[in-house]
Symmetry: C2
Subunit: 312 residues, 2 copies
């Protein structure tokens, strides 16, 4: 008899749905796998995977009959796809269903940073408005030049939204894409020089590590705002922190960080950032859709049908 393994910190809703549909063995982290009896491990043919901690050949080796890793999320940079390929393991993800939520948050991060919405909210809640008068003037966001780093599905959803804000759209990506007149830059430094806001929508993984480099950040300049809803790894975080601390850029709206959730404490001392706890796709509606798509991929695999959203 085959068996599904569910790895990760699933919500109660997702856990109940997994139990109902696939009756899996549940583990919290990859390090729990080694503790399972060998007999149980060799029964596992499909893994419902959730999380950002690396899952590589070593972990796969513990599951000798594994044929599928169904990732919960569009970004599967935690999974070593080469190692999976080498073992004939298929990998799936949950694309598209989360584009809207992530793009919504990206736009709101940009406006919230530029318009100082969090300190403005504190100005009201602290009683300062009544006691001390008007809050300081902020900066206008509409009408600026936006640069999308990585024009995949999420990047495009962000750009589509920003056109409603009378923005000039620029983008960088591996190759020029079919767009409604948006300006392509092969080089992210050239992109950063051309825009007021840099919105990072890259995939994660080694190929994009520090893609938004110290030079890109410097090219954006002291009036620039960086928004990141991709992965902490896509930006040179030390350079970003330096730039935020010394005013080399104006501010940042960040949903993702290195070493989440134990993020660099330097972020917490800044007054020119809006920080979110990696909640780009964290709505009830979207997480429900992501869980469904993950389980549908597992079911398709178990029933010998075509995978819905394979990545390898």
């Amino acid at each position: 008899m085959t068996q599904v393994l569910a790895l990760g910190n699933y919500s109660d809703t997702d856990q109940a749905a997994l139990k109902r549909d696939l009756d899996p063995v549940f583990v919290k982290t990859a390090s729990d796998i080694a503790a399972l009896p060998e007999k149980d491990r060799s029964r596992i043919t499909a893994l419902a995977f959730m999380g950002h901690h690396p899952f590589s050949g070593g972990e796969m080796h513990l599951l000798p009959n594994l044929g599928l890793i169904a990732n919960y999320g569009v970004g599967y940079d935690a999974i070593d796809v080469s190692a999976a390929d080498a073992r004939g393991i298929k990998v799936t993800n949950t694309p598209d269903v989360l584009n809207d939520d992530v793009a919504d948050l990206a736009v709101a991060l940009l406006i919230a940073q530029g318009r100082q919405m969090i300190p403005a909210s504190e100005w009201v809640s602290s009683g300062n408005w009544a006691a001390k008068g008007n809050f300081a003037l902020a900066r206008k966001i509409s009408g600026g030049r936006a640069g999308i780093v990585g024009l995949g599905r999420i990047g495009r959803a962000i750009a589509d939204r920003l056109t409603g804000f009378d923005m000039e759209i620029h983008y960088s990506s591996r190759r020029e894409k079919d767009t409604p007149g948006w300006t392509y830059h092969a080089d992210p430094v050239s992109l950063a020089e051309a825009v007021d806001y840099l919105i990072v929508a890259l995939v994660g993984g080694p190929e994009t590590e520090n893609h938004v480099s110290k030079d890109v950040i410097a090219a954006l300049g002291p009036c620039g705002i960086i928004v990141n809803i991709s992965r902490g790894s896509t930006i040179d975080e030390a350079a970003l922190l330096d730039a935020l601390e010394n005013g080399a850029i104006a501010g940042a709206g960040l949903d993702v960080f290195l070493n989440e959730p134990a993020i660099d404490p330097r972020f917490l001392k800044l007054d020119n950032v809006v920080l979110q706890p990696h909640q780009g796709s964290a709505t009830v509606e979207t997480r429900t859709a992501m869980g469904q798509l993950q389980r549908d991929n597992v079911s398709a695999f178990l029933n010998g049908k075509a995978l819905l959203t394979p990545v390898n």
Copy 2:
């Protein structure tokens, strides 16, 4: 010799520009006018007005040769225009230059409330993310049905932005307007019944007082979000507070209140609101443009030219 009077709490920048262009007498509030010598008061022919405290016939009576009230802001509900008419006083405002900023804030208030961005930010800054794990799931905003109450220039700028978020747009206004297929409701209760989000973009003043009534709020229902960037007076605030306290609606994003800045302390106890200190147009860029337009109206009046943006 004629003289300009500048009334209000101007920023240093605006104050310097007023001094440079019009060399006015400065007063903070309308009650300071009576303290000016009669000789000085009778010299005043134009008033550069800023603020939300009522300016009515009594104040106008103190300035017997007043011919213009140039309001700083698009909303001139503080000025008794009938009383001005009766005295042959022209009134101007500063429309259009602030549409973008107000619309930006409206969209961000909607997303920030739905996505719980302020408590999510606190989840990061308090260290709860690292200590306690994931932040609670929020709700999806894209793809919902938005109802714009008052489809003037600002309402339209908001609707234009929301179309990029894959929203179905409904609106109410005194009469049906030419739109790209948006759904008209003559009655705000019908509008509220049809939508998930109600975004109030009415003009202020007695005609729209409590336009978003208890019945409208009830019609929106327990999943509804209200955003108000217009005036506190346009919503029945006691009914709004009741609805927020007892869950009759889901939440609100509010930039305007009755009795600003001494707002009702019940607002500060709510966990389902995003509160802003009436900063819809409060960016350096837009306030500069508003100040310029106010001064241009005064200059046009003093030089006997056509007013740029008259309201009566």
